[in-house]
């Protein structure tokens, strides 16, 4: 959890806007540090978290979270965290073992044409369950509003799903988590293309990102510096609030430069890095 980002977004583990759909995106850069931020933020906020880790192993996320001061293993044990390890689950679907035929959540791997209904069913059962730790009836802890995190949606495109199918999935997730249960959704999507306009490619990540931008209420778009790599500034992040705020502002945009440290990240206005001043 990065406190500087919290103050930009006006959130703390104790108070955050509910019912928000946050879209993280990157272009020729890496926004996964933001996923780790939101994961540790919501675990600290005592939310019931459902994490679809499609890109990395559980140990990877666990090691980084450890540095940010939260234990994923403990959260999982307590029933606060439901973790879908995409790599492992897909392996058991693709190479079925006798004992383990894989989670039904990954059914779309067998036939991408059926869509992501099965993955949605997984999310639904994870966020609607009461949050009581398994086999720990006495330690029944109450968790806050549910949160869904996805790292990242672009992998689904690579697995053969259409951008439309992924948008349907995100729509259903938003409907249940944000609207029905007043929780939050954070999704990461990567854009590989350089240009904003690629007319012919209508099934690509560009279309997915546009579709998700129409659905979400807050976007954080990470880009490399236009002037190239720099040791002291790792890139820039554009924060855009899309929902009508209380003071009548419709869309508000702010640009920050950032640097990711070993145990955190700093955000500053463009041109005010310690390397410049």
């Amino acid at each position: 959890m990065y406190t500087e980002l919290n103050s930009i977004l006006n959130t703390t583990p104790d108070s955050f806007t509910q019912g928000e759909f946050v879209l993280l995106s990157d272009r020729e850069s890496d926004a996964s540090f933001l996923i780790h931020h939101f994961l540790s933020l919501y675990l600290r906020a005592r939310c019931k978290v459902c994490f679809l880790g499609l890109v990395q192993s559980f140990n990877h996320y666990s090691a980084i979270s450890q540095r940010l001061g939260v234990s994923l293993a403990q959260a999982k044990e307590k029933g606060q965290l439901v973790f879908l390890e995409g790599q492992k689950e897909s392996l058991s679907v693709l190479i079925p073992q006798e004992t383990d035929t894989g989670s039904p959540a990954m059914d779309f791997l067998r036939d991408p044409a059926v869509g992501l209904k099965s993955l949605y069913e997984f999310v639904r059962s994870a966020v609607s369950s009461s949050g009581i730790g398994e086999g720990e009836a006495d330690g029944a802890e109450e968790w806050g509003p549910p949160v869904l995190l996805v790292d990242d949606l672009s992998v689904l495109l690579s697995l053969g799903l259409s951008a439309g199918a992924v948008m349907d999935f995100s729509h259903y997730c938003r409907a249940i988590v944000c609207s029905l249960l007043q929780g939050n959704v954070v999704m990461l999507v990567r854009c590989d293309g350089e240009g904003e306009e690629d007319e012919g490619d209508d099934e690509g990540s560009e279309r997915l990102m546009k579709g998700l931008t129409h659905q979400c209420s807050l976007t954080l778009h990470v880009q490399g510096l236009p002037t190239g790599y720099c040791r002291d500034i790792h890139g820039q992040v554009e924060v855009c609030w899309r929902r009508r705020q209380g003071d009548g502002q419709c869309t508000q945009k702010k640009l920050f430069q950032y640097k990711v440290h070993d145990k955190g990240a700093s955000f500053f206005a463009p041109g005010t890095s310690s390397a410049v001043l």
Binding site: Y172, K210, G211, H214, Q215, T251, Q252
Partner: protein, 278 residues
């Protein structure tokens, strides 16, 4: 022209609000809903992209008694057992039935949020057919639809907008909460009027026109002013004075045969290549 459209769409009209990822047209759509409700018209909202709570939250202060929300948001594809309205119900019969459920003296306005959701799952010809039937059928007085133009191929956007009596394309303006609206209006006589306005939506969903970015008259004057003389700063003369003309006429042009040239050709000097042993 935006205030005129807000005052009411003619009966049988189809208004399309086109937006893109950089600026959402939903606030303008809410302004239209608010304006219709304030005129005591019945408004039916077919909501795919926002929940009823979110919509009503956006319409705080409007008289929402005549607002009827048809929930296509929770389950638009029928993934659960009891879908309220799925995208495949988007046809004349279903929509007419929905609107008729509530009886009003006046025919209602149908708001579709958004056409993009439908176009992702229903073929564009079918969507166009249903829209046309709705307009002509008399079940609804007018239709207002939101369309995310950057989500579809240009041909699809074109064919849907061809049906519309008015198209408003919104885009962000240079200043914070302002936006630019490009309006195309087709009147019944076939006359097409285009206009461009910069507007701002106030908290109570009324619209303030900041400026007309291109009034037809103003544009004309502008272009006249910029028309400068292209012959002003030339590096050569376009006209000749009498003495210059005389001098010019004295010159023999190349490739024109004259007596001197003929003798020069016949009695040319020694061949310079004569000593060359080829």
């Amino acid at each position: 022209m935006l205030p005129e459209l807000l005052q009411g769409i003619e009966s049988g009209g189809l208004l399309i609000i086109q937006d893109s990822a950089s600026y959402s047209g939903r606030h303008l759509l809410q302004s239209f809903i608010n304006a219709a409700l304030n005129r005591e018209e019945a408004v039916h909202v077919l909501g795919f992209e926002v929940s009823e709570e979110e919509l009503k939250d956006g319409l705080r202060g409007s008289p929402v008694q005549r607002l009827h929300f048809h929930n296509a948001y929770t389950d638009p594809l029928g993934w659960t057992d009891h879908p309220a309205f799925t995208v495949h119900h988007f046809c004349l019969e279903e929509l007419a039935r929905l609107v008729k459920q509530t009886s009003h003296s006046k025919p209602a306005t149908l708001v579709i949020d958004s056409l993009s959701w439908i176009l992702r799952h229903v073929s564009p010809p079918d969507v166009c057919k249903t829209l046309q039937q709705l307009r002509k059928g008399g079940a609804v007085r007018a239709i207002i639809g939101l369309l995310h133009a950057d989500m579809h191929q240009r041909g699809t956007v074109g064919s849907v907008c061809r049906l519309a009596t008015s198209v408003i394309t919104v885009a962000p303006a240079t200043k914070g909460d302002e936006a630019v609206a490009k309006i195309t209006k087709r009147s019944k006589s076939g006359k097409v009027i285009q206009d461009e306005e910069i507007f701002r939506i106030k908290d109570d969903l009324t619209i303030v026109i900041q400026s007309k970015s291109s009034q037809p008259g103003a544009k004309k004057a502008d272009s006249e002013e910029q028309e400068t003389d292209p012959t002003a700063n030339l590096t050569f003369n376009l006209r000749l004075s009498d003495t210059e003309r005389e001098a010019k006429e004295k010159l023999a042009l190349p490739f024109v045969f004259s007596k001197e040239k003929k003798t020069a050709l016949l009695h040319s000097g020694p061949d310079p290549d004569d000593d060359l042993d080829v």
